[in-house]
């Protein structure tokens, strides 16, 4: 059974100027421990779709089917670290809000920070970290609640190109090591093909599922190496053409 299933999701915005159909009849399912990338032209409603999955926006129609126990964590665009909190306190934000056992959460946070090389920075301010390290701290902040499903909203868009390549490798490695399911929203086809097990292409607004590609690249390689594989450009080209094609 799928971990999460979206059935006929639609969303219509209402404003004074009229109504906008942002998402139209989207059905898709995410399997356990799968890494799914959602790509689409800018303004297509990818982020909105992700926010619906995170429960931040209620859809106008359709339903989301998932088990009660499936914990979801959302990682917004840019790292969203709070500048007035130390790295450790940023990581502990979710347990603090949930009001659970903070000691247990702290022990787990320490373990994660240690494992991913941020231990010595745990009392530092986010501004003292490099872009890549900030992204890693933000990822640990989402991991600390032990979610099953991680929703990543263009997490690399604020980084420069070089850092971005490196952080892609880093994030995928951590997500795979922690055995998480992840949905990544991006406008960067390269990023999607190099990281994901499956890529879902959305149409321009109103967003609908245009096509789906199961990526058959060697998963033992990090994303940066996958970019050099022969089939990579084939996937890229197909997806690019799908995004260029007008809506039917």
């Amino acid at each position: 059974m799928a971990l999460v299933e979206l059935r006929n999701i639609s969303l219509t915005y209402h404003s004074r100027d009229g109504e906008t159909e942002a998402i139209k009849d989207v059905s898709l399912s995410i399997e356990d421990k799968e890494f799914v990338a959602i790509v689409g032209p800018s303004g297509s409603g990818k982020t909105t779709l992700l926010k619906i999955m995170a429960g931040l926006i209620a859809p106008s129609g359709g339903e989301i089917v998932k088990a009660e126990s499936t914990r979801v964590a959302y990682m917004p665009q840019r790292d969203g670290l709070f500048e007035w909190r130390s790295v450790m306190k940023n990581v502990l934000l979710a347990p603090e809000i949930a009001g659970g056992d903070i000691k247990k959460a702290r022990a787990y946070a320490e373990e994660l920070l240690e494992k991913y090389g941020l231990k010595e920075f745990s009392s530092k301010r986010p501004s003292e970290l490099s872009g890549g390290m900030r992204q890693r701290a933000a990822l640990i902040r989402t991991l600390v609640t032990k979610p099953k499903l991680m929703l990543l909203d263009e997490p690399f868009s604020a980084l420069d190109f070089q850092t971005r390549l490196y952080v892609c490798d880093d994030v995928l490695r951590i997500i795979k090591a922690e055995e998480k399911t992840a949905v990544l929203v991006t406008h960067d086809i390269n990023e999607a093909v190099s990281m994901a097990d499956r890529v879902i292409v959305l149409t321009a607004r109103p967003a609908g599922v245009k096509s789906e590609y199961t990526i058959g690249l060697d998963k033992s390689l990090p994303p940066l190496k996958r970019r050099e594989l022969k089939n990579f450009s084939v996937y890229f080209k197909n997806i690019w053409m799908d995004m260029e094609a007008p809506n039917e």
Binding site: A54, P76, G80, W84, I97
Partner: protein, 262 residues
Amino acid sequence: MSEEHKHYLKKQKIRKLVVRITQIGILILFFGLWELSAYLEWADPFITSSPSRVIKSIASLYTSGDLFVHIGATLWETVVSFLLSTVLGTAIAVALWWNRFLCEVTEPYLIVLNSLPKIALGPLIIIWVGAGKGAIITMALLICLIITVISALQGFQSVDRDKIDLLRSMGAGKGKIFLKLVLPANIPNILAILKINVGLSWVGTIMGEYLVSREGLGYLLVYGGQVFRLDLVMASTLILCVLATAMYLAVALSEKLARKFF
């Protein structure tokens, strides 16, 4: 350290020293010329007063025991209205941030109240609150309050949407969003408002003292003007300069300290 860098540092140091010496020089020149012009009677000291007469005036206020009564009265009114307007203004801004309906309803009223010159309310305040310290504090409060509400609210509303979404995805309600994100993110903004309020609460207090009062620096200014004792007017002005600057510096210092944390 390279020779070049040493040279650079030395140049910076000298530059800073020159600026400071010039500043002090201007001050000495100003008071010197003032004293000299009174001494040589280039200008009538009865109209312009002079530094030595100002000092004598302050000394006589001190010996009569009035000096600290006046300073105390004004300082008390200023500090109370400053604190009250900051706390009350922030609290109102929180309420308006919390309740969008309330915020939309009050918007035109805030604009009108903000545009109104608060001194126009003087007669009303005197009649309603009574001619005393209450009226002065009310006047100063009105001057600071509206601008505090507007600036604080603006700060609250400009918090990054992404971060609010992040907290919501963690299950935070409005209260937690405010405490964990909106308030700490706005500490620098609130401190900037404090700096403006220091100046405004002095304006309000002195204005209030012009209208009513039997003590305070504003009272001394008006009284000195009425009986043509320019020494007293100049003395009060100088004391005001010192006090207002000291209070501003205190707030600026606390801002600097707080900025380290937020």
